[in-house]
């Protein structure tokens, strides 16, 4: 087994080169992108510091609309995280051989967006420094307690899920860098003495599979309890029995869309065209389309049943959503966020990388709008809510933090899962091994 692997390594220097390309010092492009992102993050942190000092009065919130875009961001970012983790887990469990080049980015995005999204729990508090009360005075009847338990468990889960398949690649890094440097010590520590023995590989495969099995129900739980924080109230527009699954599908839909955006960006930035191919976008596009159709169906079902009875409060809410105040946003979500992305993937003519990435961007934006529409209109009634500059700055900062943290991540760890890609090409297409090198060379020349 080990001998076979060594052989594979020799035959596949290109995979390693591509996966490790992101490591170490960044070029000019890195800094051109990282600098503005860092500035935006700094601005968001400064805005939060200002809010911490002045209190929530600096937001656009009021006694009627007491939850706003912070809550929408919280749901959005955690939804994205969920998508990343579950996509990777489903692909692993179903043994989809094409998954190898995209699982690393999907799993990293799951951790990063969860960490950023989780912060919004604290950002939106009136007394953020008392968040510890949630532990020392925990009340298990509160849906926010369920949230805390589910999200913290899920955070540990996603980190382990990212880390396990990373171990063999960390060992590759360990063996390549200067043996006396700090980096070597970090890699050596994290590699846990990985030598690639068959026993180690057996344990690792078992661990990764186990985590893939665990992460799916965990993610379903996280997004369900998030939905229930709304659904357990008697408020019209929130008190819905389908909210659990409705939120789970929303998370998957927006999550797949974001995975598409992330792999498109990193494919371009690190010239991974030879590994992340059109088919990856098409397969992910199909998943996005299926989930989009499912979400459209859920939305229709929710609006039809409530709208058919049309009690007084539903009438008020649906008028504001479909006809008046929030109608532009609502129809932008239905048409721009669901119908168009579904159509773009459904039509063979637009099933190209560019169009699929465009569809994913529309879906991701549309789903943020949808979260805003879930949170704000049921609260607003006759009153209104406009986010303040502080809320917008914190939101933009959080949005910038996700690509920035991912960029930092791939400077330390390989952007592709080396061992899995080598294993795939070894097991699935042994005859292609020889061909793949010249193929890549051609791709390189084009770039």
């Amino acid at each position: 087994m080990v001998a076979e692997m060594r052989q594979a390594h020799v035959a596949q220097p290109a995979v390693r080169e591509a996966a490790l390309r992101s490591l170490g010092g960044g070029g000019l492009t890195f800094w051109l992108i990282a600098t503005p992102l860092s500035l935006l993050v700094a601005l968001g942190v400064a805005a939060f510091a200002y809010q911490l000092k002045e209190g929530l009065g600096v937001t656009g919130l009021n006694d009627q609309v007491f939850w706003g875009i912070y809550t929408a961001n919280f749901v959005t970012f955690i939804g994205i995280s969920y998508g990343g983790a579950v996509i990777s887990a489903v692909l692993r469990l179903s043994g989809a051989s094409w998954r190898a080049p995209i699982t690393r980015l999907a799993e990293a995005m799951a951790v990063v967006s969860l960490a950023v999204g989780g912060l919004f729990v604290i950002i939106h508090l009136g007394q953020p420094l008392r968040v510890w009360n949630m532990v020392v005075h925990a009340q298990i009847s509160s849906p926010l307690f369920w949230d805390m338990v589910a999200i913290s468990t899920y955070l540990v889960g996603t980190i382990v899920f990212l880390y396990l398949p990373l171990i063999p690649d960390i060992a590759v890094c360990r063996d390549r860098v200067d043996q006396s440097g700090l980096r070597h010590r970090l890699y050596a520590f994290l590699a846990l003495g990985w030598r690639g023995t068959s026993e180690q590989r057996r344990i690792l495969t078992w661990g990764v599979t186990l985590m893939a099995v665990i992460i799916i129900p965990l993610a379903v739980a996280v997004h369900s309890v998030l939905a229930w924080a709304f659904a357990v109230t008697s408020r019209t527009g929130w008190h819905s029995t389908i909210f659990g699954p409705y939120f789970v599908v929303a998370a998957l839909f927006s999550g797949v869309a974001t995975v598409i955006l992330v792999i498109a960006a990193f494919r371009k930035a690190y010239h991974l065209e030879a590994y992340i191919e059109t088919k990856h976008f098409q397969y992910l596009g199909y998943m996005m389309m299926g989930l989009g159709v499912l979400y459209l169906y859920f939305t229709f079902s929710e609006f039809l049943t409530e709208g058919y009875v049309l009690d007084q409060e539903v009438q008020g809410l649906y008028e504001s959503l479909l006809v008046t105040t929030y109608a532009p946003m609502f129809w932008a979500f239905v048409i721009g966020g669901m119908a168009i992305p579904i159509g773009l993937v459904a039509l063979p003519r637009t099933r190209t990388i560019n169009w699929i990435v465009f569809a994913a961007a529309l879906a991701a934006i549309g789903m943020w709008l949808k979260r805003f529409l879930i949170v704000v209109p049921p609260l607003a009634g006759d009153s209104s809510y406009t986010p303040s500059w502080v809320e917008i700055a914190v939101t933009v900062g959080a949005l910038a933090a996700i690509p920035l943290f991912l960029m930092i991540f791939v400077r330390i760890f390989p952007v592709l899962s080396i061992w899995e890609m080598e294993e795939e090409s070894m097991v699935e297409e042994p005859e292609k091994r020889a061909e793949s090198v010249p193929e890549f060379a051609v791709a390189q020349e084009v770039v």
């Binding site: 209190g55 929530l56 009065g57 937001t59 919130l61 009021n62 006694d63 009627q64 007491f66 939850w67 939106h124 508090l125 009136g126 007394q127 953020p128 008392r130 968040v131 009360n133 949630m134 532990v135 020392v136 005075h137 925990a138 009340q139 298990i140 009847s141 509160s142 849906p143 926010l144 307690f145 369920w146 805390m148 338990v149 589910a150 913290s152 468990t153 965990l218 739980a221 309890v225 924080a229 709304f230 357990v232 109230t233 008697s234 408020r235 929130w238 609260l379």
Partner: protein, 280 residues
């Protein structure tokens, strides 16, 4: 006076613990929902609370000797809004932070085609099955043994989940710095949360700081039309500040109802229907 104040806040603390315990037991049903990590947390936090609640139960019983309710006679309300200003002044609240607020309700129906309006003072309903108490993640909102729903602003984290859960939209938030206020009790106590704490939720405290001393709630005292009664289920008495009546008769004879009864929140505020026709 300081000694009394200390006793007051201690009894409140006891009340909170007693309620926490009851809620803890009720919450066992949902324990299955909470994932494994939750299991480790529960004994740490819930057990000490339970023991203290048992040890100091005698003080709970003393508070529970009265069971406060409010009765609002809408036949008498002419929207003078003196209840609102008195409540704000005595609790040092910003304008707009209304613990009691009169709404004008327009009615049109088949028997009354031209329609009419009536005034409906709303305040915390002090529900027996309070949704706000159920959803609070830190036990800052709790039921006092005498029936009031109170907020411990020293514990509240300001998540506003209680505002989301409240079907009556009566809770407000301290978005900005509170008005300067004399700190009578030495610190804000749930029965008299003055001065308010920025970044926490606030709501009608049923003037338990007054009723426990045999005084009227400020809104009852201020109403020029005697439209608001404070009542005690334990002694079956109610008073509008001028006359005292049998609470049960007042409710039965006038077909009193509770707001959003169908939600099963079991409010402690009763309404008598009308539209200001009994102006005195």
């Amino acid at each position: 006076m300081p000694d009394e104040a200390e006793t007051e806040s201690r009894t409140a603390a006891v009340a909170r613990r007693a309620v926490s315990r009851r809620r803890f037991l009720q919450g066992l049903g949902v324990a299955g929902v909470a994932a494994g990590a939750g299991g480790a947390l529960i004994p740490l936090t819930a057990l000490p609370q339970r023991e203290r609640a048992l040890a100091e139960n005698a003080e709970d019983e003393k508070i529970a000797a009265h069971q406060w309710v409010m009765v609002i006679d809408m036949r008498r309300c002419t929207n003078e809004r003196d209840c609102m200003s008195s409540c704000r002044k005595n609790h040092y609240l910003h304008e707009g932070q209304e613990w009691i607020k009169t709404y004008t309700i327009e009615t049109h129906n088949i028997e009354d085609p031209h329609g009419h309006s009536h005034y409906m003072p709303t305040l915390c309903m002090h529900c027996q099955q309070a949704p706000c108490v159920k959803v609070c993640p830190v036990g800052a909102t709790f039921k006092s043994p005498d029936g009031a729903t109170l907020v411990d602003q020293d514990r509240c984290i300001g998540c506003r989940m209680c505002m989301a859960a409240c079907p009556y939209d009566v809770r407000t938030f301290n978005w900005d710095d509170p008005l300067p206020a004399p700190n009578v009790l030495g610190k804000p106590a749930p029965e008299y949360p003055v001065p308010q704490r920025k970044g926490t939720v606030n709501v009608c405290d049923m003037c338990t700081h007054n009723t426990r001393n045999g005084e009227l709630p400020h809104c009852v005292d201020a109403c020029p039309n005697q439209a608001i009664f404070v009542g005690d289920l334990a002694t079956d008495l109610a008073t509008d500040g001028k006359e005292t009546v049998r609470l049960s008769e007042l409710l039965q004879d006038n077909d009193a109802f509770r707001y959003k009864e169908e939600l099963n929140t079991q409010p402690r505020v009763f309404y008598i229907a009308g539209h200001g026709q009994d102006e005195s």
